[in-house]
Symmetry: C2
Subunit: 416 residues, 2 copies
């Protein structure tokens, strides 16, 4: 017997027919002898409807009241699922966020602090399925809070950790985590296994399969996750701390893309100690994260250009900050370009296997893709390029690393 959390997203809960499908899956786990907690999202579209009502009510809506309004969507689906399970002969009851989930931090974007597990343990020991609205909790002063958009994943993982669950299954409208965005590479392959760290790096690829915060939380709690289709019986992707011997692969996990960076270049900086700090210090103070940096000597030798990337949303703020420090930094020109993209190969052990980086740069060079900057971490090598070259880069890398699925593979998977 295992204790498991099953999480279902808005598409899976959109209407009574789909809620019945969810109930059938819950019933199967229960009949396999598991203790089951279910975390549910609001019906697809409902949270958007409620957010829109808040916007219409007041341009500057109070986050405390916003939380009261938008938290109602999951309350409805939790009650409906509990009823549906009862109708199928299971013991089930709903719990409200305020009964279970103590949270801290700003309204509209709270963090789970603790789970009141006594009520849940009692229900589970009695064979009752616990149905819990995702995305919400209660503040120290007893007010309804929400965890931010997509927060139901975080609820599921936080509740799983809080009740000592053996695993957390995230049911969604895709059937797992893919090697890359299938819209760019139609032959992208579903991964059977992926590590938490790889998952965090691949989270930006295509459809947001899992909220990043929930993956980080599961990693810290060492809680195994599975990403599964809510609609088809497929094995999905297991997200684990380390790849076991049976999960080995001799290539990367996948290829991540990121269009949300912009490039800033400052020309002809004095080549003196501390000049990089003079640029980056004020940006850090302003809360602007810098990702890639490259410093290149200019023709004269005593001066150099510096190029770095910031989130596109922060580009104008970053430029304003630098402008005010121009005298202090001492550059000639500030150039910028929002039309850049970052392509990364992601996989455990990348740094310890230089052949992988070599394969990457060879493939990109053969495709005549100019690299603006390069960076590397324990599990990732990234290359910055102009945005119009991104899709080509992803495709050649996908092929070079042997990730393309065989034409018959997806069909075989669907039949399993």
């Amino acid at each position: 017997m295992a204790r498991i959390v099953m999480k279902f997203g808005g598409t899976s809960m959109a209407g009574i027919e789909r809620i019945r499908n969810v109930a059938s899956r819950v019933k199967r786990e229960r009949e396999a002898g598991n203790e089951v907690l279910v975390v549910v999202s609001a019906m697809a579209g409902e949270t958007d409807r409620l957010v829109q009502l808040c916007r219409e009510a007041s341009a500057l809506s109070d986050p405390k009241e916003y939380d009261v309004v938008v938290a109602s969507g999951e309350q409805v689906t939790a009650g409906l699922l509990a009823m549906t399970l009862q109708g199928m002969g299971l013991k089930a009851r709903s719990f409200m966020g305020w009964q279970l989930v103590r949270s801290v931090g700003a309204h509209g974007n709270s963090r789970i602090e603790a789970i009141e597990r006594e009520l849940l343990d009692e229900a589970l020991h009695g064979g009752t399925v616990a149905v819990i609205p995702g995305f919400q909790g209660v503040s120290e002063d007893g007010r309804v809070t929400t965890l931010g958009r997509g927060g139901s994943d975080t609820s599921a993982v936080g509740i799983a950790a809080g009740v000592g669950a053996d695993r957390c299954d995230i049911y969604t409208d895709v059937d797992g985590v893919y090697t890359t965005d299938p819209r760019i590479v139609p032959r992208a392959r579903k991964l059977d296994f992926i590590t938490f760290e790889e998952m965090l790096e691949l989270a930006g690829v295509g459809a947001k399969v899992l909220q990043t915060r929930s993956v980080g939380l599961a990693m810290r709690e060492n809680l195994p996750l599975r990403v599964l289709s809510a609609f088809e019986d497929l094995p999905g992707t297991e997200v684990v701390a380390e790849l076991g011997a049976d999960m080995e692969r001799n290539t990367i996990a996948g290829i991540a893309t990121d269009r949300n960076e912009a490039k800033i270049t400052l020309t002809r900086l004095a080549d003196r100690a501390g000049v990089v700090g003079a640029v980056l210090g004020p940006l850090a103070e302003a809360g602007i994260a810098i990702d890639m940096i490259v410093q290149a000597a200019s023709r004269e030798g005593a001066e150099s250009d510096i190029t770095f990337t910031v989130p596109t949303a922060s580009l104008h703020q970053a430029m304003a900050v630098i402008e005010t420090r121009k005298a202090d930094i001492g550059y000639d020109e500030m150039l910028f370009d929002p039309n850049v993209a970052k392509v990364s190969i992601v996989g455990v052990g990348i740094r310890s296997n230089p052949a992988l980086a070599a394969t990457m740069f060879k493939a990109l060079a053969e495709a005549r893709i100019n690299l603006i900057a390069v960076s590397a971490s324990e599990i990732k090598v990234s290359a910055l390029m102009t945005e119009d070259q991104m899709e080509t880069a992803v495709r050649v890398l996908h092929t070079a690393f042997g990730l393309d699925s065989r034409p018959d593979e997806k069909a075989a998977g669907a039949a399993a």
Copy 2:
């Protein structure tokens, strides 16, 4: 400075534009220096939508889960109104039913036990408008409860009593309480004042202006109510314990109708002591309320017929109960007729003024209306007739008691 509760129904809360209108009325009361609590219904149609979802989810939906689902509608409007008030520059916050309203009794039909007034007092003393979802509370074991359909009126009165409010204003889509159903008598007149007891008797007339339970509660708490239009600036109707000298009228308050009774006649009962008890005892045991009773000697003299009314919804059950006791009771035939109606004149002091009853019977006789049964109480005289005679009876009585408004009166009222 007064402490007042303002209650707004679903029609008044249907959409952001109408919520803004509600907020304007709240603002006016606040700016007059009053401490204000607002009790809100769900948007018109929303509770029906949620109830329908529950029905689809499970034919036998668990009342505890039903409550979780349907209580969400008022949660949304409470948050939206609090935001809107803030947007107009007022201090406001929403409270949830589970934070304030302790309830007892069956889920789906709970009663208010107590109001946690500390939180409310604190808010009101600080100049904050308290916005509270109607229709709901929390059970002793911490689960969401609802008070039954129309329960927002009861919430408003219960909360007003619990916080020692000076009065409770019920804003609705009619502009007050009328002398009778305006669909039957277009010249029905709005009453400026009515007593609680009269209001209880007139509750059945036409649109249910106020939930009966809420009127009974206000009467016990001696809490003045006002029924007002949410859309027009009209004086409405004040519901009070006793008519003051300035509220005197020399006629009845109004005319009530009731189509929801059915008539049962048992023929040729032995004219012996205890025969009425033999009929009514088993019905009382079965929980069936009997209203009017008339016993009439039959031609032979040693036997009599007995006729009484039961709620139409209980007619078949009542007949089944009597059928099983036929030998015991000893009647010849059981006849029944669901097509009867009760017309009542209502007003304080009716019993002490026999001229009123005389006026009633004279008017009905002149209109050739046959009375099946008659009953009287302190504030009411009722006549049972066939349903097809009901509307005529109401019209002649309305004229006979001088209740018809002058042709120009409604226009004058609207301009006030």
